[in-house]
């Protein structure tokens, strides 16, 4: 009964979405306030009904209702409760339901908290949001019903892939989707503005909190996903330039560009059509990601139920939403007037370079990701584009960007004093150079690019802190005055400092773990000692142990450094009889300086004489934990910025739409 309620609620949500697609839009065109306001209740009702459907599916998973096909395929009665719950979004159907749930949540969020947004814009935005949910709800109901029953019901389920039984992964899709789908509301705002034909500073300020919220979740989602690949999959790396990773990274890159260009639109009323284009493209890339992951268009390590028919439906949705919005853009954007003028050296110019670099980087990743498809279509050749391409093209674009990030915040709007900026940064440049040299002295190996990157990361970190210190006049004035200034500084400024510093910190991790990583793949017998990065790792054999729903081969490795015992590592290889698959549980000794990482590869039993011998993979990844620390700082920085008074929900409007927004001089 409960699954049918869920199914019915989903159908009702589709009906509501249809009404919401039309009524508020018409109301805005005719000036009918009642029709416009209907968007509020319909957006909330949509969320409620999709919420009921989601709860119904989750209930089926929690009680292990094996009359529901989705539960049979993706759950098992013996699974721990947490993973039963996570199984709700473990399949194509369930994750799509989560997708529309988040879509509806953002719509309802604007309806509930967007009280400062004018009625007409809000009505149009919510209508556009309803167009998207109409598309995806019908997709769900017509091609991927999550509530399908099976008869006769089987005794037990087929388990969730044991690889996916991990807390990090259970949280990964919701966060990633929050970011992915969160950009939908920004897209809706952009399309609504195009329909209205008006984009101004106020528009940029209304959109900003939603962009920030989506960007934060996407950042957290990507970081969690890479953390999961690193710790759980036993791949010994945190980024592989796999198509599915790339499609989540592209909206992040472009969303970052959007975050910055919207500042220019807000403060200086410029970059208007560019900001709109970025808003459309960011969500388009999210949609593209959904399409690529679910259509099996490209070959990837991330498997999903692949079905060409579903792919065709999503492509149709993509055609309507991306094609429609870009056509609207082509029609309306030329009429948009450019705002304030600026000199070649100014904050605007700095942000322009930031945007150009980020957009080019996105284009490069997009091209590299789709190149195999293009090649196959044009010449029939099968090629694959791997990390070397992305490292060779993406990294050189990011380094100048990071250099600019150090300078940008020192530049003032309209016209900046380059000489003054250089004077302030002279000391930072010297420090960065020294840091690069010191790294070279200590490491004595690795590519030149690595020293350069360390120097640039130090540059960004120190420049960011210096800019913050200048603002609060740290050590310049008595401490009490500094604290007062820090308190008066907008939270957005603190947020920027934290996020930029976070990127610098993460860069140490990127560079350290790629340039100075050591790796040994060895064939060992008990008693064998492996030397790596100053550690001695002794292999003490493998024993068989049992777990709740698996059997494991557990290796014992005694780690010591210069004769002193450090720790014992227990890497495992687990086999799950029900799901008929094996997973690798790496053992990691994690410190701030670096991770010692061991995984059991295969029993190397070629001949009987080698019984007890295994292939071991041991890695040392210096500084790798800085990546996650940096990612946390990025997210917190975004959060601080989001809590800025200027954006706070219900904060009094500072300026009416007709006048440019007054911003305090900085």
């Amino acid at each position: 009964m409960i699954p049918e309620i869920g199914h019915f609620a989903l159908a009702l949500a589709l009906c509501i979405a249809l009404v919401q697609s039309v009524l508020p839009m018409l109301g805005a065109a005719r000036g009918n306030a009642l029709w416009m306001r209907s968007a509020r209740s319909s957006a909330i009702a949509q969320l409620v009904f999709i919420g009921i459907a989601f709860a119904a599916l989750m209930h089926a998973f929690v009680v292990s209702d094996f009359t529901v096909a989705n539960v049979v395929e993706n759950s098992h009665s013996l699974k721990p409760m947490l993973f039963k719950v996570a199984g709700t979004w473990g399949s194509h159907e369930g994750s799509l339901l989560l997708w529309v749930l988040i879509l509806a949540a953002f719509g309802a969020g604007v309806a509930l908290f967007g009280s400062n947004i004018p009625d007409a814009l809000k009505a149009r935005t919510l209508s556009v949001q309803a167009w998207i949910s109409t598309g995806f709800l019908s997709f769900l109901l017509l091609t991927s019903n999550p509530f399908e029953r099976v008869f006769p019901p089987p005794q037990d389920g087929n388990d969730l892939n044991p690889l996916l039984q991990d807390v990090g992964l259970a949280m990964h899709p919701p966060l990633l989707y929050f970011g992915y789908v969160g950009f939908s509301i920004v897209f809706s705002f952009a399309v609504a503005a195009l329909i209205e034909g008006r984009v101004d500073a106020a528009w940029a300020r209304w959109v900003r909190p939603w962009t920030l919220a989506a960007w934060m979740s996407l950042t957290a989602g990507i970081a969690l996903g890479s953390w999961w690949a690193y710790y759980e999959l036993g791949w010994g790396g945190w980024w592989f330039w796999d198509p599915v990773e790339n499609v989540s990274f592209m909206p992040w890159l472009l969303g970052t560009a959007l975050l910055h260009s919207a500042i220019v639109t807000e403060k200086r009323d410029a970059f208007k059509s560019w900001t709109i284009l970025l808003a459309i493209l960011t969500f388009s890339l999210s949609l593209l990601g959904t399409f690529i992951v679910r259509s099996g268009l490209l070959t990837s390590v991330h498997a999903f139920a692949v079905d060409p028919e579903r792919g065709l439906y999503i492509l149709g949705l993509l055609g309507v939403s991306i094609g429609g919005s870009l056509t609207l853009y082509a029609w309306r954007a030329p009429a948009m007037e450019g705002g304030g003028l600026f000199a070649p050296v100014s904050r605007e110019a700095g942000l322009l370079i930031n945007n150009l670099l980020l957009a080019t980087a996105t284009g490069t990743v997009l091209f590299g990701t789709l190149y195999p498809l293009f090649m196959e279509a044009l010449s029939g050749d099968k090629v694959s584009v791997g990390p070397p391409f992305f490292n060779a093209t993406f990294v050189p674009m990011m380094l100048p960007l990071v250099v600019m990030m150090g300078i940008g915040p020192f530049l003032s709007w309209k016209r900046a004093d380059l000489k003054g900026v250089f004077q302030r940064l002279r000391f930072v440049a010297v420090l960065a150079g020294l840091a690069g040299l010191a790294t070279w002295y200590v490491a004595r190996g690795g590519p030149v690019l690595a020293y350069l990157s360390v120097a640039i990361a130090v540059w960004l970190l120190v420049a960011t802190l210096r800019e913050w210190a200048v603002r609060i006049r740290l050590f310049d004035v008595p401490m009490a005055e500094t604290i007062r200034r820090a308190r008066n500084l907008p939270r957005a400024a603190h947020g920027m400092t934290l996020a930029h510093a976070g990127l610098a910190i993460a860069m140490f991790g990127f560079v350290g773990s790629s340039a100075w990583k050591s790796e040994e793949i060895v064939f060992v017998q008990p008693g064998f000692v492996i030397e790596i990065a100053g550690f001695d790792v002794r292999f003490d054999g493998v024993e068989r142990v049992g777990g709740p729903n698996y059997m494991a081969d557990r290796g014992t490795l005694a780690v010591s450094r210069e004769g002193e015992f450090v720790t014992t590592l227990y890497p495992e290889r687990r086999s799950y009889p029900v799901a008929q698959s094996t997973t690798t549980e790496s053992a990691i000794r994690s410190t701030l300086a670096g991770d010692l990482y061991a995984s059991l590869a295969e029993p190397a039993s070629e001949t009987a004489a080698d019984q007890g011998a295994w292939t071991l993979r041991i890695l040392y990844e210096p500084l790798v934990n800085f990546i996650w620390i940096g990612a946390v700082m990025l997210v917190l920085g975004g959060g601080l910025s989001l809590s800025d008074r200027r954006l706070r929900v219900g904060a009094p409007r500072r300026a009416s739409r007709s006048e440019p927004v007054a911003t305090p001089a900085e």
Binding site: S295, G296, L297, L315, L326, Y329, P334, F374, E376, K382
Partner: protein, 187 residues
């Protein structure tokens, strides 16, 4: 100029869309690696038998001679999907009268023997490819892989991965039926 610039994104999006539409062609498999062996003569190899199982060894000559196409399956006892595939292969032999030959890839003879005793032996002949040499000749990318070879020794079809599940079995059965009509036409 401004108008042209504003229309640029939609033009690029349309081009991308055309490629995606092409890419959705259901016959296209992005994971398929084209085999250089298809329509080529099967490689020369001569493998000894696994001791104590009763089935003789396998060489290229054993594949040719009959009018009917034969199936060559590369398997190993350490390969988990092979275990699942074993049932499908056995069914093919018993129900459809397929002539099945095995290449036991990089497997200890005693493990292979235990595996076959446990699950049954559907193979007419099995060659033990202990050092993986024949595997290289056949250009396999992993285990299991299954080939259809015509009576004249031409490789007609290659399936990478286990022939398990309705879709895979359907694909393989179609390829086998085609191979049979082809040989029927020839003889």
């Amino acid at each position: 100029m401004k108008r042209a610039m504003a229309a640029l994104p939609i033009l690029i999006a349309l081009i991308f869309g055309a490629f995606f539409l092409w890419g959705l062609n259901p016959d296209r498999d992005p994971n398929a690696i084209p085999s250089v062996l298809i329509s080529q003569s099967a490689p020369d190899f001569d493998l000894p038998a696994i001791e104590g199982i009763g089935a003789p060894g396998l060489s290229r000559q054993d594949l040719t001679g009959s009018a009917e196409p034969v199936v060559v399956n590369v398997f190993a006892s350490w390969c988990v999907p092979c275990r699942a595939e074993h049932a499908v292969l056995t069914r093919m032999v018993e129900r459809d009268g397929v002539r099945l030959f095995g290449i036991n890839y990089k497997d200890k003879p005693e493990d292979a023997r235990a595996w076959l005793e446990n699950l049954g032996n559907p193979y007419e002949r099995i060659g033990s490819d202990l050092n993986g040499r024949a595997g290289i000749e056949w250009g396999i990318s992993g285990v299991p892989e299954t080939f259809i070879v015509a009576g004249d020794g031409t490789v007609l079809y290659r399936y990478v991965g286990p022939v398990v599940g309705a879709e895979a079995e359907e694909k393989f059965a179609t390829a086998l039926a085609q191979a049979r009509t082809r040989s029927g036409g020839n003889s």
